[in-house]
Assembly symmetry: C2
Homo-oligomer: 250 residues x 2
């Protein structure tokens, strides 16, 4: 959590390498010039998910364009082992919250999954990606989580890589305590890989038939988060916080 | 997390006992009649933090008053062992989020604490209590967390019961990993009681001098939540989720 550098931190698509130049997009130019009130010569940090984090200096700054010169490497790129999170989309505000907090908590892939009781009719992957980029910029990670295409529950399960454990947040009380499941994954019991993903249901919970189908899958483990009825977004974020504390880099 | 009953669940101040009558306040009467569209004879669940949870029936329902008859006991009152949470107030939306999620995650006392870098000039304890009541009604717990009076950091520390461990969320990376600290508390290492509280800083973090003072206190343990820079509300909620999974009723 050490904050080594306080200059603004931006995600870019371009390649990053020493002594090269780069043009920021108009929104980023506006942010640096008008929101942050930076000037020519000021430092900015840049990352693209592939080449590590670099320090760069503002070379030219106009109303809607900004030319940067890339200087030194601050952090080399590292492999990330964060979990995946699949979740039934909830209301717009809460879906945004899930994306933001999951990014802060190190999730590497976010999958919107439509279950039987999902109230939200559609999701906006572009908005999800924008929120994930913003959260990645703020929290200091070197990547932005992948936003998977929205899927039905069945379509999602059909594509799941069976070597990866899927921890389903089971609100009925039938799941195993989450700390125990994560400890087992860390210990590699039964030769299981610690790589995993979580599946979090909609506000109304999974349908009984959905839970039964899920429990019959070899790669699924049902996990419980305690006796209280957690809101959908609280359940997802609690599970990720536990993952970080027990299996992550905490 | 088992949902045994789906009738509306309301917190009341009055005593609850079998075959007694009770008048709900106008806002609750409006909620039952106009939002939930209940009628005379319909069931409602009531709890007051002292007498357990009861099922009650609507006896008379007018525009702004509702007379209930209390029937059977659904759940006897139980002692709760949830942690305390002290936090530097953040923006209104995020403070509301902390109150809601902390209630879902079983916190028994919420204390607003003003630190040097706290941006929010004031808090509204009545709004905090209303949000905590709403979250308690929804998540099925039998109590509403206590909202402590806002305090300065020094005032808060002066009143802290020294037998209870205070886990300070240390964003500098100097804290011990949270899972390890909670496991030690559970194991009772050094004869320490598992009762604890968390202290979460403002968006800008604690000042160096504040962290130094905190580290010098015998009842304080600094805990770390990983390498990423978590927003203030994410840090508080992550710590509570870990508490639930490792020390709580999960």
């Amino acid at each position: 959590m050490t904050k080594t550098n306080t200059s603004p931190r931006l995600f870019v698509d371009d390649a990053l390498k020493a002594e090269s130049a780069l043009v920021l997009d108009p929104a980023q130019a506006h942010y640096l010039g008008h929101v942050m009130r930076l000037r020519v010569g000021d430092a900015v940090r840049l990352f693209n998910g592939r080449d590590g984090e670099w320090t760069a200096a503002i070379e030219k700054l106009k109303k809607s364009s900004c030319l940067m010169t890339i200087n030194g490497l601050l952090q080399p790129q590292e492999a990330e082992s964060g979990p995946w999170l699949a979740f039934a989309p909830v209301k717009k505000t809460q879906t945004g919250l899930i994306v933001e907090k999951a990014t802060e908590l190190g999730v590497t892939r976010l999958s919107p999954v439509f279950t039987a009781r999902t109230n939200s009719g559609r999701v906006n992957p572009d908005r999800m990606r924008a929120r994930a980029i913003e959260a990645s910029e703020q929290c200091g990670r070197l990547t932005v989580p992948e936003i998977a295409a929205p899927e039905t529950l069945q379509g999602f399960l059909d594509q799941w890589p069976v070597a990866r454990r899927l921890l389903v947040l089971d609100e009925t009380g039938a799941g195993q305590p989450i700390a125990q499941v994560l400890e087992d994954l860390r210990g590699g019991n039964g030769g299981i890989s610690p790589e995993c993903g979580f599946l979090s249901g909609p506000e109304g919970g999974f349908e009984t038939s959905e839970l039964e189908s899920l429990r019959n899958l070899d790669f699924v483990t049902g996990v419980g988060l305690g006796r209280r009825i957690l809101r959908a977004e609280t359940a997802a974020l609690s599970a990720l916080a536990c993952w970080q504390a027990i299996l992550g880099d905490v």
